[in-house]
């Protein structure tokens, strides 16, 4: 290839040839957090099946999905929020608030469908408040959503007091926690898969999603490229609220229990799953698949340790250690690859 010494003109396409990718497929495909996490999930389940008594039965898998469904649902929109560089810690409280509104509405004799819609709207209200405070008022999302986390948990508990609404009709609660006909897979799996596809396409295959990444990479450069930065962030917070609200309705029916403390602590599981799945907490990097895999890993970890008779405090220790380990591994890997490519860039570029 002739060296690019003579300046090209914009009319002609110059002699430069570019590889599409600088690294071979196996390294791009396999040396990724998502791949590692999926592998870890499979390994964990395999070990569980082999070692832990009573693990190898359909019931294990269906309860594993059922237990982790709220987190798996809520982490989908929150992943997009984290990729923009924001965070939403209020989803657990939004779930609880939605649950309380749904329960109260039902108790007050509102048709259950209307009560369910009210529950979703309650979640949306949390999302709108977050979004407005973050984008219009301009406060940091961490502070805002810690605030709404406390605020809506307080309201939810305040609304229901120490009582719980439990007398939901069985013809609704039963199908919600049932399995798909003939499969050891709960119905909610369908919702998770559907929403994952919707959010996956939104994030990875639309101009909107390109904007989401651009904001996380550099909000200023994104704004200069015509990304409606604040509008995008607002939309994502509202989406997160709506999904948390819908999850609240689902959760209430699954356990036939509307109580103010529903979903408490879920926000940490959501964020843990997302970070574990290789999404950068600084924004700009990550995949929805990775975040989902992170959620599944936590679910599998919980289930395995639980069946092995290990207490919840230990489970918590293991989850925390896994999170720190994954962050350390990602940062060391990033450092190594930067150093390697730094060396590669120092040598003259190869024409191909």
């Amino acid at each position: 290839m002739s060296a690019a010494t003579s300046a090209g003109t914009i009319a002609e396409t110059g002699g430069a040839r570019y590889l599409r990718h600088g690294r071979p497929l196996w390294r791009r495909g396999l040396l990724r957090t998502e791949a590692a996490i999926i592998l870890a999930v499979i390994l964990l389940l395999a070990i569980g099946t082999a070692v832990v008594p009573f693990f190898a039965q359909p019931y294990t898998y269906s309860t594993m999905i059922l237990n982790s469904a709220p987190v798996l649902l809520m982490l989908l929109p929150v992943t997009l929020i984290v990729i923009t560089g924001d965070i939403d810690l209020s989803v657990g409280s939004a779930l609880g608030f939605s649950s309380a509104i749904f329960g109260l509405g039902f108790q007050a004799g509102v048709p259950i469908a209307v009560a369910a819609v009210l529950g979703v709207v309650a979640g949306a209200v949390v999302g709108i408040l977050n979004g407005v405070l973050v984008t219009i008022v301009g406060l940091p999302s961490l502070a805002v959503t810690i605030g709404t986390l406390a605020l809506f948990r307080g309201i939810a508990v305040g609304l229901l007091g120490t009582t719980a609404v439990t007398d939901f009709p069985q013809e609704l609660t039963r199908p919600v926690s049932a399995n798909l006909p003939g499969l050891p897979v709960p119905v909610v799996t369908l919702a998770i898969v559907l929403l994952a596809i919707v959010f996956g396409i939104l994030l990875h295959f639309t101009p909107f999603g390109r904007g989401v990444f651009a904001i996380g990479l550099s909000p200023e450069a994104a704004a200069f490229s015509g990304v409606r930065v604040n509008r995008t962030r607002l939309i994502l917070f509202v989406m997160s609220g709506v999904v948390a609200g819908a999850t609240g309705v689902y959760y209430t029916l699954q356990y036939s229990n509307a109580i103010g403390t529903n979903g408490q602590g879920f926000e940490l599981q959501v964020v843990t799953a997302i970070v574990l799945g290789g999404v950068s907490i600084w924004g700009g990097r990550g995949t929805l698949l990775g975040a989902l895999a992170g959620g599944l890993l936590i679910a599998a970890l919980n289930k395995t340790l639980q069946l092995a008779g290990i207490g919840s405090d230990t489970i918590s220790i293991v989850t925390g250690a896994a999170l720190i380990f994954s962050v350390v591994v990602a940062s060391v890997a990033g450092f190594l690859s930067r150093r390697r490519r730094g060396k590669a860039a120092a040598t003259p570029a190869v024409g191909a």
Binding site: A4, A7, G8, T9, I10, A11, E12, T13, G14, G15, A16, R17, Y18, L19, R20, H21, G22, R23, I201, F205, T206, P207, R210, G211, F213, A214, L217, S218, E220, A221, A222, A223, F224, S225, G226, V227, R228, G284, R285, R341, G342, A345, A349, V350, G351, A352
Partner: protein, 500 residues
């Protein structure tokens, strides 16, 4: 007179292959005020940083009161009696005025506690001596920039500074504050200090300074006694070089108006700005850094808000504060700071090139990497970006190649109007010429180009028309043939009506 306070001879400094300072000379006598002037990039800041101990010189002599010195860091320079007052003071915002002045060397009482009374007393005495009494207990946070500068000066006196360097101290001050600062400078001079005063404002330089040293392109040009020189002479020294041969300017036929800006005002930033850019025309904003050129461009493109006025492109009103709307009307914007505004540094060349055209690449609302790739490939190769793969991160490229990626990103939008803000800042000479040729060709295809540049040769070489911006207003307009380095520089440094 005895030994000069400060003497530099043949001081040079390079960063990699870029020579920032070539053989600079400066002699500062005690009890004088010495102006250091030159265009942006002339090497003034580099020189100041060497004197202040921030950079090490590569070669040359540096004598302080006749003794050769070698500073390892700013602490050495301070200990030797050199103080630098920056345009934006660097006080600790949460500490009081007195604490700021004595930070790191607080006096103690006999029982080992801080001697606050002494700090207060000394602070009061110092600020009074400077004629600007400031309450020693006030937090630095609430002080005006002018008062913060006074605190910095008080601090430098209290540590016994003999050389005080003021790096564009008046740029952010109001008229009264400037007078006050000049009073302080005169007082320090009378007390026998040596002052180096950097300013772009000729009136200040001529009324305050005893000697004027001019620098250009990193090189020492001349030292003049103020009494024995004229503004014209200084301007000639600042710009004196052949202009026009460097840039391949293509003559184009100028078409209809593309961008029309009418009475655009953003209170306190710029005022009553009106201008037109026509198809095939390159219009340049000349002026000093801080004159408001970038701010006008940002408001026109919609990144910043403005208070009144109108912007139209091709006759259609451009929405306020909406870059996406501006882009739909055919506007493109290559911003000043490519690392923060132009590029997502951690993202690939492909992501960056396609960032502004992501909507138009989508099919049925969906976009994939394989839809983006041909576009990225096309623009990267048209601009001859030097990289071996499209997924190389932008931060791995050289500055010149990064700038090509930014240009490619905006050329990909096929704009009718392209605004380029300092398009060649910090890039190598070869790429610079390529960028100039590119902009020239772009205008040749009928694109309207609005260019902001602080480099006079670039402005004069590229522009069909030069608009001079000074303190937020367009104060002069020159056609290509009428623009000379002297009259553009004069307009950029003088108030309207003061024309010679």
């Amino acid at each position: 007179m005895s030994e000069p306070l400060l003497q530099l001879h043949g001081v040079s400094k390079s960063f990699g292959a870029v020579a920032a300072l070539v053989s600079a000379d400066l002699t500062l006598e005690a009890g004088t005020i010495h102006a250091l002037i030159g265009e942006n990039g002339a090497g003034k800041s580099t020189l100041v940083k060497i004197i202040g101990g921030l950079y090490h010189r590569d070669s040359g002599d540096f004598l302080l009161e006749g003794e050769s010195v070698h500073f390892h860091n700013t602490k050495d320079a301070k200990a030797a009696g050199i103080a630098v007052i920056y345009q934006e003071p660097t006080l600790f915002p949460d500490l009081s005025v007195a604490e700021n002045i004595f930070v790191g060397r607080q006096p103690y009482t006999r029982v080992g506690t801080l001697d606050r009374a002494k700090m207060r007393r000394d602070t009061r005495e110092l600020t009074q001596r400077l004629g600007v009494p400031i309450d020693p207990d006030r937090q630095a946070r609430g002080l005006s920039i002018a008062d913060q500068q006074v605190v910095e000066i008080a601090k430098s006196i209290s540590v016994g500074a003999k050389v005080i360097i003021m790096d564009e101290p008046t740029a952010a001050l109001s008229g009264v504050e400037v007078d006050r600062l000049m009073g302080i400078a005169r007082q320090l001079r009378d007390e026998g200090k040596g002052i180096i005063f950097i300013s772009h404002r000729f009136d200040e330089v001529f009324s305050l300074c005893d000697t004027i040293t001019v620098m250009r392109d990193g090189t020492y040009i001349a030292t003049n006694k103020t009494a024995a020189t004229t503004e014209d002479e200084i301007i000639r020294q600042m710009v004196g070089r052949s202009v026009g041969s460097l840039f391949p300017k293509v003559e184009t036929t100028v078409g209809a108006a593309v961008l029309e800006v009418r009475a655009l005002t953003s209170v306190g930033v710029f005022e009553d700005v009106s201008f037109t850019v026509r198809a095939g025309e390159i219009v340049c904003f000349a002026g000093l850094v801080g004159a408001g050129r970038s701010e006008i461009a940002r408001a026109v493109f919609g990144v910043d808000a403005y208070d009144s006025g109108s912007v139209t492109v091709g006759g259609a009103r451009v929405p306020r504060r909406n870059p996406a709307g501006s882009m739909r009307l055919g506007m493109g914007f290559v911003p000043e700071d490519r690392r923060k505004q132009g590029l997502a540094m951690a993202a690939s060349v492909q992501t960056n090139v396609t960032m502004a055209i992501r909507s138009s690449l989508a099919r049925f609302g969906l976009i994939t990497s394989s839809l983006e790739e041909p576009s990225a490939r096309t623009w990267a190769s048209r601009l001859q970006v030097k990289t071996h793969a499209l997924d190389t991160e932008a931060q791995m490229l050289s500055g010149g190649n990064q700038q090509k990626v930014v240009l490619g990103k905006w050329l990909a939008t096929q704009p009718k109007l392209l605004i380029v803000d300092e398009p060649t800042r910090g890039i190598d000479v070869g790429t610079k010429a390529e960028v100039h040729r590119l902009l020239s060709e772009l205008a040749g295809t009928g694109v309207a180009v609005l260019m902001i540049s602080s480099e006079l040769p670039e402005v004069l070489g590229m522009a069909d028309r030069v608009l001079v911006v000074r303190e937020g207003r367009i104060t002069a307009e020159f056609a290509r043939d009428a623009a000379t380095p002297e009259n553009v520089m004069y307009a950029a440094t003088h108030a309207v009506g003061a024309a010679a």
